[in-house]
């Protein structure tokens, strides 16, 4: 027991003391924070005000209608052909002509620009013209602008899960899907990542020939178990760092953005109108986060985290013992590739099945995928936020533990023979024979 601990300690410390571990632990939270922070930064950034000249052939537009926060519209008169040639020299970014029959011909708007027109500028001009045209059309039809605004209702729904006992939980299925997808993907990545780390560790010991020294001191299964647990703890450490750093960084980022805008609103009254708008934008862009927060509040977090820990642990143990067996049978990472494929297939299959599970978490596919040990870690994590009956969770967990025991027995049989085999061309037939070798 004491010796397994020594192996765990070595496996853990040699990996955690590597630079690459810390780079991976830092880069992922930075990236996630950037994904969250960059849209906010773009929204709060001062925009350059575009200058647009409008030539109105319909006579419907007045300069006072053209006030806009982001674009300075200027009504111009004169010869269209002449303005077309000179508008950019006069400092305009674009020049739009509104035809006389704009009410009947909504496609008649033409926009000229020297460089390619940006999509947002194009839609801003169109929106301005469209609002004015719609207003006139509504007025002509006898509908007041106020009435029209009242008709613009926004329907949104609240989804509620009702349990068999009648307890109601508000859930947001969009948010649940996001949470499910994140957890499933994390599991998928970690199974592949840490499983192959175990395999490479075994190959390293075999190809450097230290294996014979080590197993004259401890039993092969102790070495295998120690390595698997050590690498698994590296994985848990990395998850912990990712969670702490991501939460810390994104909290700090949102604090950083909120503080200056509030202060500015108070201090600078002349621009307050504009600032309120940018603050509103910040708020609207953080809305998905609020949505996610709502999901996190509505789901059973201890259950989700506990299950994540459980499925990571046993899913990892199951697959990494198979990876260890493969590592023991080969002499180089290149040779390992052909053998890793059969182990990767169930992981990839589980990930593909998870897409179906996400779309319909109560289907038969979802049920079986979350019960069978090889696919259950990813698929059960995907299903959990939608609510899963307790007996299914218990069955799935029990089968996973059983699957792990079976796989690790099989793997340790292969491992103890494989680590001492050199210079033989490995085949599946050969490897399957090892299972039945006596010690």
């Amino acid at each position: 027991m004491n010796k397994i601990f020594l192996v765990i300690k070595r496996e853990y410390l040699t990996r955690v003391s590597k630079k690459s571990f810390w780079i991976a632990s830092l880069v992922a939270p930075l990236l996630l924070t950037a994904i969250y922070a960059v849209p906010i930064w773009l929204a709060t950034r001062d925009k350059e005000v575009k200058q647009v000249a409008i030539w109105d052939g319909s006579g419907l537009f007045e300069q006072k209608d053209l006030a806009d926060k982001e674009i300075a519209f200027q009504l111009v008169t004169g010869d269209v052909a002449n303005i077309k040639k000179t508008f950019d020299k006069q400092g305009y970014d674009a020049f739009a002509t509104i035809p006389a029959d704009i009410l009947k011909n909504p496609q008649g708007l033409k926009i000229y620009s020297e460089k390619n027109l940006s999509l947002s500028l194009k839609s801003d001009i169109e929106r301005m013209v469209q609002n004015k045209v719609r207003e006139i059309l509504l007025r002509n039809a006898g509908i007041s602008t106020l009435k029209y605004k009242e008709t613009q209702v926004d329907i949104s729904s609240e989804t509620i899960t009702v349990s068999k006992h009648g307890a109601e939980t508000t859930s947001s299925s969009g948010g649940a899907m996001i949470l499910a997808a994140i957890l499933g993907f994390l599991l998928y990545l970690s199974l592949l990542l840490y499983g192959s780390q175990v395999m490479n560790g075994v190959i390293e010991e075999k190809s450097s020939r230290i294996i014979e020294v080590i197993i004259s001191s401890i039993k092969p299964y102790q070495l295998m178990l120690g390595k698997i647990l050590g690498v698994g703890m590296v994985g848990l450490t990395q998850f912990l760092l990712w969670i702490v750093l991501t939460v810390g960084l994104s909290t700090a980022t949102s604090k950083f953005y909120q503080a200056p805008s509030r202060m500015a609103t108070v201090a600078n009254t002349s621009n307050s109108e504009e600032l309120k708008k940018s603050v509103a934008k910040v708020e609207s862009s953080t809305q998905p986060m609020e949505e996610l927060n709502k999901v996190i509040e509505s789901t059973n977090i201890p259950l989700i985290l506990g299950s994540f820990f459980f499925y990571f642990l046993f899913g990892y143990l199951l697959y990494s013992s198979l990876f260890a067996a493969i590592g023991s049978a080969v002499e180089s990472a290149a040779e390992a590739q052909q053998f890793t494929f059969p182990v990767m297939i169930p992981i990839i299959l589980a990930f593909i099945l998870a897409q179906f599970t996400m779309q319909d978490p109560d289907s038969n596919i979802a049920f079986w995928a979350s019960i069978i040990p090889f696919t259950s870690p990813i698929n059960m994590m995907v299903r959990l936020p939608y609510g899963v009956p307790t007996w299914e969770i218990v069955l799935s967990m029990a089968l996973l533990v059983g699957g792990f025991l079976a796989c690790s027995w099989l793997s340790s049989r292969i491992y103890r023979v494989g680590i001492l085999m050199y210079g033989k061309k490995m085949t599946w037939k050969e490897i399957s024979k090892w299972v039945f070798y006596k010690n």
């Binding site: 390293e204 010991e205 020939r209 004259s216």
Partner: protein, 302 residues
């Protein structure tokens, strides 16, 4: 006896690696385990180090049945050397010593002693990758002996050492023997057998074909041949003696003859017949080298 190997059988799917092997390996001596490639030496060593288990038979370690508690009393230097390449020398040796049951503090103090003895203090914080082959060999030797095992198993210990380091290693092995360590020494190099071993066993085709104390084995293989260097000519027929070869010796003035005594003929009988005829300058019994014994026995048993 440090090891008593009794009727050990080890079968693999396609062949028998050890066929009823019995050996007694004495305490505090150097025991040479000889044999051609594939004879079964490595299989036997792996059973003693408990990497594998025998199919039949048993092994007693210092009178007790060999079990996992003896792992800490055995030091093993395999023929294929290996260390963790990306680990520092000191940390690695501490790890290996701890696996052999030493505490961390104990490992550090013993290792420091060894590093001072072998004058390699500056290696402690180096990565194994940065050491030369010979330095790695030294490092591994330390890892084999640091826990002061009762039984030391050395498989081709001199391979990869230059003559200076090989001498140093030889001195260390002899020093360990003087302190009471029993050493099982597996090798192909017969000159190191002559130099170091007290007893030997020769394994061929999974069986022990020869065993005994070094001098006793050599005596057994004496062919009763005598080399005589003399001046003058042999004119009379010699009784009870066969002339094997006769040639001119170095300075052309003398001759070198090899004579084989027939059954129950004493060396004095040969000498008595030679003295009246020639001037005898040198008279010596030809003792077979272990190289000759090895080749002879292996060929006989093939």
């Amino acid at each position: 006896m440090i090891l008593s190997i009794q009727d050990v059988v080890k079968r693999y799917s396609s062949h028998v690696a050890l066929d009823r092997v019995s050996l007694e390996i004495p305490k505090g001596k150097i025991f040479g385990l000889l044999g051609p490639n594939g004879a079964g030496k490595t299989s036997l060593i792996r059973i003693i180090t408990q990497i594998t288990a025998p199919d039949e038979g048993q092994i007693l370690f210092d009178g007790e049945r060999l079990s996992s508690k003896h792992v800490e009393q055995i030091g093993y230097l395999p023929e294929e050397r290996g260390l963790y390449k990306k680990m520092k020398v000191g940390e690695q040796l501490i790890y290996l010593a701890q696996l052999k049951g030493l505490s961390r503090q104990e490992s550090i103090s013993r290792l420091k002693d060894w590093f001072i003895r072998l004058d390699i203090k500056e290696w402690w914080d180096k990565q194994v990758d940065d050491l030369s082959k010979g330095m790695q060999q030294k490092t591994q030797f330390i890892s084999t002996v640091v826990h002061e095992p009762k039984l030391l198993i050395l498989d081709e210990p001199f391979s990869g050492f230059d003559p200076i380091n090989a001498n140093m290693l030889k001195d260390e092995i002899l020093a360990l023997k003087d302190r009471g360590t029993s050493i099982l020494f597996s090798t192909h190099r017969m000159e190191s057998v002559e130099e170091l071993c007290d007893s030997i066993a020769l394994i061929n085709h999974s069986q022990v074909v020869l065993t005994g104390e070094k001098d006793e084995v050599r005596n057994r293989f004496k062919a009763h041949q005598f080399e005589v260097i003399f001046e003058g000519d042999l004119t009379q027929e010699l009784q009870g003696v066969d002339l094997i070869s006769l040639e001119m010796s170095g300075d052309q003035s003398s001759k070198k003859g090899v004579f084989k005594l027939q059954e129950a003929v004493s060396p004095n009988h040969l000498l008595g017949q030679l003295i009246p005829q020639v001037q005898v300058q040198k008279f010596q019994e030809l003792i077979p080298s272990f190289n000759d014994i090895f080749i002879q026995v292996v060929q006989e048993t093939n």
